[in-house]
Symmetry: C2
């Protein structure tokens, strides 16, 4: 069908003034008086709906007056500017055809619904203002991330989802199997007979594509992943989902400073892109979801991010231990309350905390010369806390092997990873950005369930 996007009608008002167009969309409201009716229609291309005026002289006026909220319509008419009205333009209809009716039991009648209720109808909630805004911003942010890396010649790598090894040893994993759970085949010793499983061994869903991405960085120098990752953590919070998307860039011939520069440019790029390409949605969030959101994001764009070592950060935080639920001391991991204190109170802008004790970070992080800390960085942002975690990677074979031994990791599982240090090793660094956390940061939405189309959390896997 030849339809005009409502977005184009708003963005190019002058061009369409006085012109006849056809639009297709869904009715948000319909009110009629004796001689006129007003349909408010959203077509999904634009946050603002189009008002369609139909008169009693239009053929089918009586049917039009009966169109219910939620119905799909195809409307043809002339676009006119309406100076002084709430909406800058409207359509004067010549014809309104009902494509699909919507009976009175439509669950999204025009009134406010709680986010909790809308979660129970996740297949319909994108039709509401809030979720239309959330999921358009999610789409734009995803594209901005691709655009950022591709413009910088990073190669996009699809790392595998099903994995034969728990590489980071990080967190609980989901097992993937084709064995019949009602009747699990066993070996003579009474163990699960994995020779009958699809891959002839136990397999899990990945928790990170980093180690795989590193192998590709040693071929392309700069690479990134953008794909789903999984955690089978039994944590029922507003920040945890069992399935979420991650972005993991990895750069060869790069150190921790390069890594932080990349993270800062990427965040600024995504913020700028979303503010530029979804101004109506962002104004909506700023007004109804998180007052001060736009000011906060604009401030980030013009700030240089702060830098502080973990050791300095602990010194700062120890002075305020009486304000914290969890008291800090050198060696303790930072909790969200500490992260937010640093970025919101102390620095009042995003800040990188660097050089953490090796004991609280992963085995692959590069040991600093002090022998105690590693070249890690976390990026903390106001309102969220940690949004990015990264590090320079250990590129010395002996030091990596030594650290793996200390932690009791099985070297045989990591031969591919050690090969990167055997053959043409190079300093390299990367980070991980949780995409949902990024969308929460951009929109001010407070619950991860409300930024994922069909969220998967403990005990919840609907649709």
């Amino acid at each position: 069908m030849e339809l005009t996007n409502i977005k184009d009608l708003f963005r190019e008002k002058e061009k369409y003034q006085g012109r006849k167009v056809t639009i297709g969309g869904w009715v948000r409201s319909n009110r009629d008086s004796k001689n006129f009716g007003f349909l408010v229609v959203n077509d999904g291309t634009f946050f603002e709906p189009l008002q369609i005026v139909y008169s009693s002289e239009m053929p089918g006026f009586a049917e039009a007056a009966r169109i219910g909220v939620g119905a799909a319509v195809v409307a043809t008419g002339t676009i006119v500017e309406t100076p002084g009205a709430k909406q800058p333009i409207e359509m004067q209809a010549e014809e309104v055809l009902v494509e699909g009716a919507s009976p009175a039991d439509y669950p999204l009648q025009k009134k406010r619904h709680s986010f909790e209720y809308l979660r129970t109808i996740s297949h319909l909630r994108p039709r509401t203002n809030t979720f239309q805004a959330v999921f358009r911003v999610r789409s734009l942010a995803a594209y901005a991330i691709h655009k950022f890396f591709q413009e910088r010649e990073f190669v996009y790598v699809h790392t595998p989802l099903i994995t034969g090894s728990d590489c980071e040893g990080a967190g609980e994993m989901f097992q993937v199997t084709t064995l019949d759970l009602e009747n699990v085949p066993k070996t003579e010793e009474g163990k699960v007979d994995y020779s009958q499983d699809f891959f002839c061994k136990p397999t899990n869903l990945t928790v990170s594509g980093q180690l795989d991405a590193e192998t590709y960085a040693f071929a392309f120098r700069n690479v990134y992943t953008f794909g789903p990752t999984f955690r089978a953590e039994n944590s029922n919070t507003t920040r945890h989902a069992a399935e979420f998307w991650m972005i993991e860039p990895e750069m060869c011939f790069a150190d921790l400073t390069d890594d932080m520069m990349l993270a800062e440019s990427m965040l600024k790029y995504v913020i700028r892109y979303v503010l530029d390409n979804a101004p109506e949605e962002m104004a909506f969030f700023n007004q109804f979801v998180d007052k001060g959101l736009i000011e906060r994001l604009e401030h980030v764009l013009t700030s240089e991010f702060g830098h502080v070592t973990y050791t300095e950060a602990i010194e700062i935080l120890e002075k305020h231990n009486d304000e914290f639920e969890y008291k800090v001391h050198w060696g303790s991991d930072l909790q969200t309350e500490h992260e937010r204190y640093l970025t919101e109170k102390e620095f009042k802008r995003p800040v990188f905390v660097t050089d953490y004790p090796k004991e609280i970070k992963a085995f692959y992080m590069k040991l600093n010369e002090d022998g105690k800390t590693v070249a890690a960085m976390d990026c903390l942002v106001p309102g969220i806390g940690e949004i990015i975690g990264g590090s320079q990677r250990e590129d010395k074979l002996e030091l990596l092997e030594q650290r793996m031994e200390e932690l009791g990791l099985n070297k045989e599982d990591y031969e591919f990873y050690l090969d990167l240090r055997r053959y043409g090793s190079a300093r390299h660094a990367g980070f991980g950005l949780g995409f949902e956390r990024c969308v929460m940061y951009l929109t001010g939405m407070g619950n991860i369930r409300d930024v994922i189309p069909f969220p998967r959390t403990v005990k919840n896997c609907e649709l």
Copy 2:
């Protein structure tokens, strides 16, 4: 580190002529004579390597002469044009630093390796010419697809990977669980006790995001997915993988004709983008992997795709049944040999086959007025056969319910899907493009294992 990309040196020769730069990359070969040495270095940003000339007057000449294949180096020197030589430019080195050595047992010494062997070292194979070309084209094609849809205001939707329902009834699925397979908990009736599983019910890995994507098309009109999908099929062929990526656009207020127009524009867009942005890689494939590749792709760009109904196609094919392993008749599914006959011999260009018998297509496809066929389309391309499969979807509640009953589908599992036909239904259509098949088509590579970084196939889940 401040490094210059080798890509920029080649693409902007004039700018760099006579300038001193530093590059970082990996050694492909090193040969030295008494007074000179020649390092060939690839930095991953460009298909062609850079030749670095070092003289015996350079400090560290002796060390440079000993650098092994595969070593990582950082080299500084002056870029000079070399008219008449095989390479248009070279670097005259002032300094060559070894970032990471590469001992003599490096598995990729300079000689040809078979694809079979390279599959056993999937973490190193992107360092070879062929796989560097494949995976750069894969990255560019992925970006081209995002760019195509975003420029047309399609919203990118992340549909879930873990799913509680086998919605299409399509193919074998992987089960996802946190139950202990060594000791599966049972109910009093002796069944698996799923109340103890993570989601409190059986869950699988998705085979398609289409039904979820449809729900979002009813909010945004035009949407697309681009994410992993899974099949636990026990088929060990060159075209099947257990984990692969799919693109699934879905449009409301669109019929089968709109669907085919979208598919044709998308394919042409991706081909154009890859030819424009990876000319060296494409020339390599054309020369060493699939002679005639570029001509075939250029021909697609300038052809209008053919159109033929299934019924007409059967009439054509029946005349050649003696040439086929599988004989066709009205009602039989088309095999690859038939698809290739149509696109390669009969049409000599890509062709859409439409209006298949309902019995061989999925339940959600729109019934045509003849009551026998559905508004489906498959796009066939030379050298591959089917690359895209799509359809207009059934938008009438009664017809959809009737078809589900005929097929014995459980309506309760599809209430969300039926809601789309209850509340504001609209004609709509979409298709699926298997991304790996698209990359094979673009590169001429013949085995799906060679276009996936770490392929997952039956009995194989390495790294």
